[in-house]
């Protein structure tokens, strides 16, 4: 799976098609290599979760049509830029089952392509979007960068708490998804309380999305993930399943030593996975995912179009069941 099942997103299907077309257009550059990497990234696909959420929320009210596609495109470009730089930082060679940009074109071109995508994102919205929305966008990007830096700083540290984790995940993932929903609600000219509700919906599914990601690193196969399983553990990223295991496992001392190991062997990664899986970590994490998804569904404002509500509920349910 790389995209959401089509029927989930029926209302915004034409918009998403326009986003896809526009993405291919805006990444075009007179420089062949920029084109090549950009096209690789667009074609590599992805769920287009962020533009889809933005568009759905924007369809909750009478939206300003001329800003919808540019904003949706900018949100995906920003997401793509973070992925390209993340893959450089993680030394990742596969994403969605395909070679990463850094694996194919090297770290240097990838850093510059990420920068190019940042600038393109702003260039797409600079002419159409109002100051309030631009401010939300720039603010959340600063916060995402901080979240990534915190993650880097906290790696290989078995003393990080569950609160540290939640703060990091909100900065790294959930706040941006919340911003997509907030921006959509603003485009739909909703009331302040409705905007806040959409923001909470976005934040909650964002948290659920990232926790699911962290679970999948333990329970999915490399084929399902399109990248090696056990990646977080190998990189010393102390995710929720690990934090749970560090509290509850009988082998917690051994796990602490493993996490501090900056050159973890294949066998040690497998041993770490076994220690975590032997606890109730996965069950606990799934219960947390469910809790966030229940919150997400419960906070949706009452007076939004039935089609939008159905789609947002379906997306929440889908996140709870996703396998990759």
């Amino acid at each position: 799976m790389s995209k959401f099942p089509k029927n989930l997103l029926k209302i915004v299907e034409p918009d998403l098609a326009a986003v896809e077309k526009e993405l291919s257009l805006v990444i075009q550059s007179p420089v062949d290599l920029v084109n090549e990497i950009g096209l690789h990234l667009v074609k590599a696909g992805g769920k287009r979760l962020r533009p889809a959420l933005y568009l759905l929320c924007a369809h909750s009210g009478p939206s300003e049509r001329n800003e919808l596609i540019p904003m949706a495109v900018a949100l995906e470009l920003i997401h793509m830029a973070t992925l390209v730089h993340d893959d450089v930082i993680d030394n990742a060679s596969l994403r969605r089952g395909k070679p990463t940009a850094n694996a194919r074109w090297g770290n240097h071109s990838s850093v510059l392509t990420g920068d190019y995508l940042w600038a393109k994102a702003f260039s797409v919205v600079a002419t159409t979007v109002d100051v309030r929305k631009l401010t939300i966008l720039t603010h959340v990007i600063c916060s995402m960068c901080e979240g990534e830096i915190i993650q880097l700083q906290e790696s290989h540290n078995p003393d990080r708490t569950e609160d540290d984790y939640r703060l990091r995940v909100s900065q790294k993932t959930a706040d941006f998804i919340a911003a997509c929903c907030t921006l959509g609600a603003l485009s739909a000219n909703l009331s302040n309380s409705e905007i806040a509700a959409f923001q909470e919906y976005g934040y909650s599914i964002g948290m659920a999305f990232q926790i699911t990601d962290d679970i999948l690193d333990f329970v999915a196969s490399s084929e399902q993930l399109g990248k090696p399983a056990g990646n977080d553990l190998r990189q010393g990223i102390v995710t929720l399943p690990i934090i749970f295991a560090l509290r509850h496992s009988v082998d917690r001392d051994e796990l602490r030593v493993l996490i501090k190991d900056e050159n973890m062997s294949y066998d040690k990664v497998n041993r770490g996975l076994d220690i975590v899986l032997a606890t109730g970590a996965i069950e606990y994490c799934y219960s947390e995912v469910q809790r966030y998804l229940e919150t997400a569904k419960s906070v949706l404002p009452p007076h939004i179009p039935a089609g939008v509500r159905e789609a947002l509920v379906a997306i929440a349910d889908y996140i709870g069941f996703r396998q990759n």
Copy 2:
């Protein structure tokens, strides 16, 4: 030298002091490491050429005061972001005689800090600057990224022409300096022909600035540069002195082989420097610098305040004589 002699910039001195203060403020983050790296970058100084040019041009007419400092700050943040990422790409360990961010905090934190600075730059201008100026800014950043990617692609290639070089330098350096002047002229509400003149001034001193940089890599000592001399040659960056030598040196075949060498020894770098210096390359490049600077001075619009004109002429002269 890290800054321009104070008397050059008297008119904009209070503004530049405000920029300095604001730079220290905007890079503040709740994340200690972000603060630490940001402060290191701000304190490392630099000439503040881009904000100075913007402010000087903006003082040519009745400017909108509330956007001056944010725009000047954003221009320096963008410049800082490109430097941080450039140093990662070049594996540089020294800049302005101080350890680079990547040497001190690693490539990963540096990539993320660069991203943070991009976003901060936009966040600073998003609320105060109009669409036309934002568009100029985003457009020129895309172009800078393309220029850097071209440079990467063209490295170790002795067949690059002087035209290739000029195009790359305009994208990489001169267009951004031109944009600083254009934006200043726009802030001063000048006429279209005056704006175009400032743009040409900026472009011309930008070209002169970069060619001087490329000369200094051959003639300045590492102490003067605050980074190792012969760096471009070692990295296979085919600059103007090299292009000249490839056309005119009796040892041009040997130089071609050297440029293709991706792991150049210290001795080979020195041999390459000797080959280039034995030609008239440096004299030719300095004559090009002078040509650009003459153009810069000659295109300045007639009816601008005497103080602004003097400062812009002095900056042009200064660029022709700078030693680092």
